[in-house]
Symmetry: C2
Subunit: 350 residues, 2 copies
């Protein structure tokens, strides 16, 4: 023996387990990797030995020998409060497949993006990556990963790539439904706060709004549609512009909760009584949605579920292994309306 194992660290090797079970290391390996072709009695013996020795296979060795890494990367640009929920879901699913999640913030605007990404991906030999928007829409990202041959799941991409699995939610339908709720309560003049240009969510949510308005024979007053960027500060300006229109709208649909919260603030500063004089609805069911008064009616994003789905697709979609390409997997998840106090009947004309 050349180097003594540090005491306490690490654990038994596969050889020790093999000896104890009276089989060869290769057989232990087969058991660990759940390969078929091991008699169940043998498998049991091995499993017992593993348990008794509290054996943990060495990931680095497995990776080196098997040309794998057991690692998948989660790339994001702006962290938001949604990230931690998403990643928790993803990690949970990863555990089921014995994978591990590396998180990597990346600057979408950086000119080094391609190189940074390539370095990371190749150094770690990632088995797949999850791309959060807006990274999921950058051609350079797509190109770099394709060149490296790394499967990538795109979360809520603007346009689906034919060759890339994706996970998204049916924002359009949800907004259509929620807008319909607004109309059903008598609102006719409804303001709309757009999100940041270039996000799929921005486009889809607006389309859902248009769907509902048109379905009810209503026209959209362009003045009442203002562009924000999903952030509170911009949302304030945006809400003020909308509330400055005459006749004043009786409701505002904000493309996310942060902006909806901004609308609440703006209305409050203009001394409007909420929700009697103005209904406000948002999207995301972010923490702030239940922290303003009145609480926001909104659309819940099943963030953990999305995270799980992303990790699941990655673990399934391994084009260079067995019988791929099968159809590129996608998940299209439903959303749930959350009706709260900020939604009220339209005020009576007086």
């Amino acid at each position: 023996m050349r180097r003594a194992a540090a005491p306490g660290r690490g654990s038994a090797t596969i050889e020790v387990v093999a000896d104890r079970a009276g089989v060869s290391p290769k057989t232990v390996s087969r058991v660990i990797n759940n390969e078929r072709g091991v008699r169940s009695e043998t498998r049991e013996r091995v499993l017992t030995a593993i348990r008794q020795l509290d054996y943990q296979p060495n990931l680095a060795a497995r990776g080196l020998a098997g040309d794998r890494s057991f690692l998948i990367g989660l790339f994001y640009d702006h962290p938001g409060d949604y990230l931690s929920e998403f990643q928790t879901g993803a990690v949970q699913r990863c555990r089921e497949s014995n994978l591990h999640l590396m998180v990597e913030p990346l600057e979408a605007a950086s000119p080094e993006l391609g190189r940074d990404l390539s370095t990371l991906v190749r150094q770690l030999r990632l088995e797949g990556v999850i791309l959060l928007p807006p990274l999921s829409d950058l051609p350079v990202v797509h190109a770099t990963l394709a060149a490296a041959g790394i499967p990538a799941v795109h979360i809520a991409p603007m346009r689906q790539q034919d060759d890339a699995p994706s996970v998204d939610t049916d924002d359009r339908a949800a907004v259509r439904q929620l807008t319909t709720e607004l109309l059903r309560r008598g609102h006719r003049r409804v303001g709309f706060m757009l999100g940041r240009a270039g996000h799929r969510a921005t486009e889809q949510r607006y389309l859902g709004f248009v769907d509902a308005m048109h379905a009810n024979g209503l026209d959209i007053d362009p003045q009442l549609v203002q562009t924000g960027n999903f952030e509170f500060a911009e949302g304030l300006e945006c809400a003020r512009r909308i509330l400055g229109c005459r006749p004043r709208p009786t409701a505002i649909f904000a493309s996310n909760d942060d902006m909806a919260a901004a609308a609440v603030s703006a209305a409050r500063q203009m001394s409007l009584v909420l929700p009697r004089q103005l209904s406000i609805v948002g999207f995301d069911d972010a923490p702030v949605a239940s922290m303003v008064w009145p609480q926001l009616t909104t659309v819940r994003q099943p963030l953990r579920v999305i995270g799980r789905a992303a990790a699941e697709l990655i673990s399934e979609y391994q084009p260079h292994r067995q019988g791929w390409p099968r159809p590129v997997p996608r998940r299209h998840l439903p959303l749930e309306l959350v009706l709260r106090g900020s939604l009220a009947p339209a005020p009576q004309d007086s």
Copy 2:
């Protein structure tokens, strides 16, 4: 050659680089690892070859041969909006040391906690871990990591372990200062909303409050001190109890912004005019702090800086390498007051 390298994936090996530079693989290894004893001319030649071939050393191989992993773990229980900021800071610092961050949610309450942790840590051969509260206070976590010989940085632990590096902020001083601001504006009856029992933050923030009150010769009315749990929902109840006291306090200090936002809601429901009739201050400078009206006066947590510091301590504190133990490293970071609209002079007695 036994197995063909998958085309496009991976990159040149150290041997290819060595050949190109006209040196042995070992010398390339020396350059990669920044070891001394390489003539600078040789080093240059190797570096050039590395650049030309766009070589990325294989982490798994480095790990296996060198008994390292280049991985550090970030363990957390409840993800919160603060997590993503923290982790972004940590990842940034990790990159500087060529380390990578694995995030691992863990259930503090689970009876399997010790086993789960041990499995993770040994399978990945983590070089260190960062523990977010409340994990940083669980004896089983501490014991498991100590047994495995893994250095752990504790973030804001209740009590400092003599042998564990830690990062925390001076919550007590910050609350003392902010309370003093309140008193300077004429407030005398000030309510206080405690955080979840067992958190260091809960204790320290309250102590800061007591410090300031006593320093100004004021007693604390026990009725005005209520226990929340850092969450909005509890905060609402808590605020109602405080606002139900007579004479009604003219200000409330909440142990975090979520609860401060709850106080804003509760006050609004009681038709109090903010901030004229009631000043409210919080802690954290969470997103919600600037999303309620009036915006919250609060204390900014330098989350990224804390994350960086944690990663830095881990990369420095490697007791089983070179000359340890040196003094166990700690960081005690200052906080910054953020004065916003929710803080106003006390109403005049009438």
